[in-house]
Amino acid sequence: MKNILIAGAGIGGTIVANRLAEKLRQEVEKEEVSITIFDKNEKHVFQPSQLLVGMGLENPSEIVRNEKELLNPRVKFISGKDGEIAKIDVSNHSFVTAGGKNYSYDYAIISTGSTLDWDMIPGLREGMLTVWEMEGAIRTREAIKNFTGGTIVFNVARLPHKCPVGPLEETLMLDDYLRRRGIREKTELVYTYPIAGVFGIPNVNKAMTKLFESRGIKVISPFTLKEVDTQNRTIESNEGEKIKYDLLLGVPPHMGAKVIADSALGDRRNWVPTDKNTLQMKDHSDVYVMGDTTDIPISKAGSTADFESYAVADNIASNVRGNDHRKMYDGSVFCFIATGMDTATYIRFNYSNPPIPPPPSNIHWLAKLAYNRLYWSLTAKAVV
């Protein structure tokens, strides 16, 4: 019996588990292969839609499902204390759970995601609201509903972070939201970013900078957040800039999961060293790494994990069958970018081909909503 263990039942872990269960259907049914996924939580949150919760377009209950309902019946799901991985022991090829159990693997997939590092910047937790977590999304919804005018600052504290286009989306949606409420003229909207411009990819930066200008959104960059002064309602940067705010929204610094540090697998931000094409952990060919967890210079996004799952599932299935076939991840990413409350554009790119976002339109917005809805029945279940 070959054991495939998956750490983390987020978007990446769930999709790859289901893809493997389909590819290795016969082997699982003959009990030659076992696929087990671990997560302490029984609920699965579609995190990209937390933005829509924050903007009052979705309710939290609409973006949460039971993980068990999403998994192929051939996948074993372990949650609670024994779903919480305390250590990934790559020397002994095993997972040790918080419940004290030990599971051996022939193949491991690490998809433990990223967490918010609030403590990196003084005052951040008290001062900033973020849709990068569910509770923050709900608080953001209330804050913007009650907002009557003043200065809203959107700050990206550090790069890289999950859902890289999210800051563009939230700022542009907010601009539209404030216009619809008739208070945009009473509001200064300020966007701050750690590197020059509003985004890292030149084509996208150019298009979005133009859009920001046309919407009267002030951009201050590079702005590397140093401190949030909640008493005086100001943020200060390493570059020496100080900005006053009435409402501070944004993205806290990100880092990899604690289990990565506890297992001594990652770098100083807990990102796991990963081959950018094979997605194997460096120096450990029986360990694959997916999604936010990797240290590869690619977007930390759900679509990235989805694209990666094809290579990971293919290569493990081939290896189980004794084939030497190897599929490479080409750096594919696809992200919709909301540009208002009912318009969007998108970017599709890979390592070799940079994106060219089309003009924003309502059609792309509807496609974004459709994709979100279809996530539950198609994407998460690895039907496509």
Partner: protein, 78 residues
């Protein structure tokens, strides 16, 4: 001063954070006396990198052509 390699990064492909975004995140993790080795593809990225290095006090201690790409070593000296 003998420098210690912290990490190697292939930044030749497209990435949402861009070369400077990816590099600035790692640079912040460096201890004085450490460097990061990077591979970048475009000359425009190379120019941006030098401008960024001047701004944050990073030092490019080595640069060489590697095929169509540039290989650079970026150090934190203090």
């Amino acid at each position: 001063m003998s420098l210690k390699l912290y990490k190697s990064m292939d930044l030749t492909g497209s990435s949402c954070a861009g070369v400077i975004g990816e590099l600035s995140g790692v640079y912040e993790e460096l201890q004085p006396g450490e460097y990061v080795e990077i591979l970048i593809g475009a000359d425009s990225d190379r120019k941006d990198l030098y401008a960024w290095a001047a701004r944050v006090g990073a030092k490019v201690v080595k640069e060489e052509r590697q095929g169509n790409a540039f290989r650079l070593e970026v150090a934190k000296l203090s």
